[in-house]
């Protein structure tokens, strides 16, 4: 299939345009020799590929150089028939600096270029119009004015795009080739064009600046920031709860359906305990990840995330981090894996490394079931101050907060240990504050659905395997008698590790197994406490544990252990992929494990 590639400066409305042109059918594109995932979708008979937004063709950070290498690869690919470069009509000059460089690159590869002049609805508000005919002839490539939001000009653009893609010779670049110092020439030429065509900046930026003077105010802005964060965490619990219940009852219903169809026996036990009990339990967290992705997406598309990074820059820099570390930290509360990938946007390699290494300390949603179980065992469900403060909720908050504090402490230590030599390669902090815009539901919805899908694809195989193995070891040789199973034998050998914390072999097994993925802790304990569907019935399991006589000190030690330990193979693999060093993947895995063990042990001894 012939390909059209879509490029543009960040925040130029490129994602929305991509979504409007391609609709539902999106997948991950594959270019030869390209390592990072690109979104691709079908536009008529062509494949449209969305490239990450970049400011320039010369890179200053890792994520940029990856994106730019991809662009070079795509330009030389013979299947690429057309390049669409998206311009932000409200920021014409900046968009053109990049666009002119892209045009030169395309010319070198004999590709045709079409410009989409997006966001013209914003210009009509100020009754400003851009003469696209004139701009086209000055640029030497066709320019189409459109708005991906209000859809004006979009149908004209898409039929023109189809024609140009079918006959690339209709969009051959009509401008001279520049061999040296392209960047300087682009800066100069963009200025000339902007002077002639662009809207007065002060008019266009007026609204943004007056909003900013409130949202970036030291007092009011700080309060708004805290309120948004509070709302975010609240909504992970409240919005996701009904969805999680729905998934839970869905899995339970399926389990019963299957059970009623099968006769009692090993197969039935296997399906119930391992598949529906163990594997089904983890599907329950998918809604939480999706809700968090949705809210972060909302903050990003509206333009607030850049302001949040600015507000956090100073406090985070005290710990050797950057304002941009805020975004990975935030998404780390859903799942560490996308958060580690998000650290790519951090300007300095050193801060990026510190951020990636400390992200796993954020209480990701896989820790939730563990927290929920142990809190249900030990913390009474009482409310104070007319229901505003719930004791269990407060303990949850402390655990989250503890994770963040730990991450800041580790960052500080790493920052002191790293030598001054690394500091020299540090890039300074500079960030564009994009205009505030009302987000469009389409890209948000795709992002949300994809986050759920990807989480399942990534975590499913390992959780499936663990569930099966634990079940087999716990079920045999005496068909269902746990006390005499292989697992019990193994557990008793390993018991001395956690015995000093007052935990018996069943906990030891659950903890050790959860080094693969922490969410299996509850499932394993559930199986071991021989309750069917342990996760669906946490209160049942909690009561069993209470009756079993787990002490408060052990439970607190266990919670601290789970706050710190990096129990997730997928995270270690991602860290290894991103840092390409064992030191920062397995090294960190061991370090957090030992730290968690020592700290929880210390706390246990202080309490008892």
């Amino acid at each position: 299939m012939k390909r059209i590639i879509l490029v543009g400066k960040p925040n130029s409305g490129k994602s929305l345009l991509f979504n409007q042109l391609t609709g539902l059918k999106q997948k991950v594109a594959n270019f030869p020799g390209v390592t990072v995932e690109l979104k691709s979708g079908k536009f008529e008979e062509f494949e449209l590929v969305d490239f990450p937004g970049t400011y320039s063709l010369s890179s200053i950070s890792t994520d940029e150089s990856i994106a730019i290498n991809q662009l070079h690869a795509a330009m030389s690919d013979k299947n690429t028939c057309l390049v669409v470069c998206n311009l932000d009509a409200t920021k014409l000059e900046r968009s053109l600096v990049f666009a002119l460089q892209v045009q030169q690159l395309a010319k070198q590869h004999n590709k045709s270029v079409v410009f989409s002049l997006n966001m013209v609805d914003q210009l009509t508000r100020f009754s400003h119009q851009i003469d696209t005919k004139k701009l086209s002839s000055q640029l030497g490539s066709p320019v189409y004015a459109l708005s991906a939001k209000s859809l004006e000009g979009l149908s004209e653009f898409s039929s023109a795009l189809k024609e140009h893609a079918k006959h690339p010779e209709t969009a051959v670049i009509q401008c001279p080739t520049i061999d040296n110092d392209q960047s300087a020439r682009a800066v100069k030429f963009a200025k000339e064009l902007a002077k002639e065509h662009a809207i007065n900046q002060d008019i266009a930026l007026k609204q943004q600046n007056s909003l900013d003077s409130f949202l970036l105010n030291s007092v009011a802005g700080g309060i708004v920031f805290l309120a948004i964060m509070f709302f975010l965490f609240q909504s992970i619990f409240t919005w996701a709860a009904p969805l999680m219940d729905a998934v839970e009852s869905g899995v339970g219903f399926l389990g019963e359906l299957v059970a009623s169809q099968l006769s009692v026996g090993v197969v039935n036990d296997f399906l119930q305990d391992a598949i529906f009990g163990g594997f089904g339990a983890f599907l329950v967290f998918v809604p939480q990840i999706m809700v968090l992705t949705l809210i972060i997406g909302l903050l990003e598309d509206s333009g607030y995330l850049a302001r949040a990074a600015l507000i956090c820059h100073k406090p985070l820099s005290l710990f050797g981090l950057s304002g941009r570390s805020f975004i990975p930290y935030l998404s780390g509360h859903a799942c560490a894996i996308p958060a580690i990938l998000a650290a790519r946007t951090i300007e300095s390699p050193r801060k990026r490394l510190i951020t990636m290494v400390t992200v796993p300390l954020m209480s990701c949603s896989a820790r939730l079931p563990v927290y929920a179980l142990l809190i249900a065992v030990f913390v009474p469900n009482e409310s104070y101050f007319y229901g505003w403060v719930n004791l269990q909720g407060a303990v949850f908050f402390c655990l989250y907060f503890g994770g963040i504090c730990m991450a800041l402490i580790v960052s500080k230590l790493l920052n002191t240990w790293m030598t001054a030599k690394d500091a020299a390669t540090d890039l300074p902090f500079i960030l564009e504050l994009p205009s505030y815009r009302l987000p469009h539901w389409r890209p948000l919805m795709y992002k949300t659905i994809n986050s759920g899908k990807q989480f399942i694809y990534r975590a499913a195989p390992i959780i499936f395997m663990v569930s099966v193995i634990i079940w087999v070891l716990g079920y045999f040789p005496n068909n269902g008698d746990l006390g005499s199973s292989y697992l019990a034998y193994l557990g008793k050998v390993l018991d001395p590790i956690f015995a000093p914390m007052g935990l018996d072999w069943r906990y030891t097994v659950a903890i050790l197994v959860s080094f693969l993925a922490r969410e299996v802790f509850v499932g394993v304990l559930g199986t071991l406490f021989s309750i069917e569907n342990a996760d669906e019935n946490i209160n049942g399991l909690a009561q069993q544990i209470q009756a079993d006589g787990l002490t408060l000190a052990s439970a607190i030690a266990l919670l601290i252990f789970y706050v710190i330990a990096l129990q997730c193979v997928a995270t270690v693999a991602t860290l290894k992929g991103e840092t390409s060093k064992n030191r920062y993947s397995w090294g960190i895995f061991v370090f957090y494990g030992v730290l968690a063990y020592c700290l929880s042990m210390t706390v246990y001894f202080i309490i008892t």
Binding site: S59, I60, V187, A194, D212, L216
Partner: protein, 74 residues
Amino acid sequence: MTLWELPKKKQARVTKLDDSMTSVLKVRLNEMGFVPGELLTCMKRTAFNGPLVIQIQDCVYTLDRQLAENIAVE
């Protein structure tokens, strides 16, 4: 004087990008609009010597002290 010393709501012209910065970074700053002769406005200064917010041409940027001290303005 440097951009860092520019008070709030005041305008200035970029005169020079300090030579201590790498050439890649200087090229990028040029592309972002920091070209000698360009007019910029300090929109906001944040508490405790936090990052500045400036408007240059059609963009608003936030930048920290380290960078602002490397941009000379008048």
